[in-house]
Symmetry: C2
């Protein structure tokens, strides 16, 4: 498995995306998002996405070089239309706008509708936390998992992230969760390994629990009706409110897909003194760390803490890239005549 320094990978990713049709600015923003995910160990949302992103540009499913357009603005609410821009570009614009509104109104809600795949949403809430704001973000897309009690795919695995600033020199607390019971990658891994999967992960074509990964017809939502309901509500808040519904039109045959994001920024200073807020955040974080670990757990961690630790390790020692990912990036570089970093050559 080749190992590559984050800045080298970021630069390589940017060159690949630029050669693949991204504007320089869009390529830089997308590369930063992808490498952030790799740094934190979320390789499924990292640079392995690049060949598909370039293909999406070629197919016209994604466009680059434009600027998200403000469709409406009322008080603390803004709707941007990305015109199929890269997810990072639409969501970064929403982060800026929501943060501005949070300074003016105490909170800001910015929809980024009609964008492309937004990757690891924790990136955007972390950006708000870095500004001293509480960040909430979610994205919504086409059917990828089941609705509770129904056969087939009906809802997306719509993720939700919430980040809390902990002070200028320490990591934010970052929850970043999908509404599915399990990542699709785990079912693919069980299939590759010839292993059964536990009940509760997926259903078969009849809507019965699937334990044979080859018979999976749809992922199950997390926690049954709760995950199903939460995913449906993320579609309502993120797509339907913003005027770009996805699930309803796809299920009724009017559309094939769609992707939307939502950023909500909350300004702790609207609630009183920042210092009092940060003191209590620190107390709560300390109290969680001081909990007695259950059997099999070395330590009790806050949301996002393990990823931040991985980030420090990988920042220092480099990012281990799966051989298949490295191979596909090198092939793409060769096609596009992009020079390959020594660590991957």
């Amino acid at each position: 498995m080749p190992t590559i320094q984050a800045d080298v990978l970021r630069s390589f990713a940017k060159d690949l995306l630029t050669a693949g049709g991204f504007s320089t600015k869009d390529a830089a923003q997308t590369a930063d998002l992808l490498v952030w995910a790799n740094l934190r160990g979320v390789d499924s949302h990292g640079v392995l996405r690049i060949p598909r992103y370039i293909e999406m540009i070629e197919q016209g499913i994604m466009t680059s070089g434009g600027t998200p357009e403000t469709m409406c603005e009322f008080g603390a609410v803004t709707v941007l239309d990305g015109g199929k821009c890269p997810g990072a570009v639409g969501m970064n614009a929403a982060v800026e706008k929501a943060a501005d509104s949070a300074v003016k109104f105490g909170l800001g809600w910015c929809a980024a509708r009609n964008i492309s795949h937004a990757g690891a949403v924790g990136y955007f809430t972390s950006a708000l936390a870095a500004k001293g704001l509480v960040g909430i973000a979610m994205t919504a897309s086409k059917p990828l998992m089941s609705y509770v009690g129904a056969k087939g795919e009906a809802l997306s695995t719509n993720p939700l992230s919430i980040a809390i600033p902990t002070g200028p020199d320490s990591d934010p607390i970052v929850l970043d969760m999908s509404t599915a019971s399990v990542a699709l990658g785990k079912i693919m891994a069980a299939k590759d390994a010839g292993r059964d999967i536990p009940e509760g992960w997926a259903i078969d074509a009849d809507g019965n629990p699937a334990t044979d990964p080859n018979k999976v017809a749809a992922l199950l939502p997390m926690a049954g009706a709760k995950g199903s309901g939460l995913s449906l509500m993320i579609e309502m808040l993120t797509s339907v409110l913003a005027g770009n519904a996805v699930i309803g039109p796809v299920l009724t045959g009017l559309k094939k897909g769609g992707f939307n994001g939502l950023v909500l920024a909350v300004n702790p200073e609207a609630f009183g003194e920042r210092e009092a807020f940060q003191t209590e955040v620190t107390r709560l974080a300390g109290a969680i760390h001081a909990l007695d670990p259950a059997a099999g757990n070395a330590a009790v961690l806050l949301p996002g803490e393990r990823s931040a630790q991985t980030g420090r390790t990988r920042s220092a020692a480099g990012i281990p890239l799966a051989a298949g990912t490295a191979k596909r990036l090198v092939e793409k570089a060769s096609q596009l005549e992009v020079s390959v970093p020594d660590s991957l050559a």
Copy 2:
């Protein structure tokens, strides 16, 4: 099991609460909240709470007759302090304030801190939906379930509700979920019945999975780290931001408890035309209803739909009250010299 008409139960509940020390206004608001839960089949959040609420007034843990005080207001953000008022009173005030802000700013965030138990939070989001707004509400309280990977109780079962208006003459879509894997009542029922509980519901004193309901030391959060993280974030958003942290101070021995609520109202008209929004909500609801039910399911329902159906049945036929609940209410009425409705006498 005695059956009682909703309006008779509401009036009896109001009389009991008034005799127990609630102001007339607070008693009316609380009775309406409790009977709403009974109507919808959520009897655990219904009138069975009345004896404890009266006890809380006697003990000074709850106070009645005051008005929630505005602690700070900045743009679309308001913090109310309830001074230990009944949950319904604090949350209703937050609903009004958040709705006002949503008309002015497109959205409104109102914290109702330092209130008492708020019951079924879907009541408050439904009230926003009845005003044509999208409603989000959550409440936060003291440790009642475990934190992922830790022994003992560290987090609350903090509920989250989201309601979507579907038009002037139809039920809103109402998600109302706790962040626990299961309601504590289910574990108590298994204990009473001498049945084992499935893994995933609770842990024993060592933090290992408990299947013997007598060895339960703490409920587990729903979906592991996801439910644990979401509950922690609800404490951050609802308690810490509002200046009345609960979990941190309780875990470090500074406090014994506390209760806070948060209401967020979103105005669909800030995003464009209401008609377009309602059309897409209706399309999505129809597409969910049209899904093919999985084995064992007669129909595919929207969040809150079964409760709304129960509400119609119970509105017509009356509310069946558990014998124990009826007995305790009649005893309390006798103590407080409140006349008992014929259907319970």
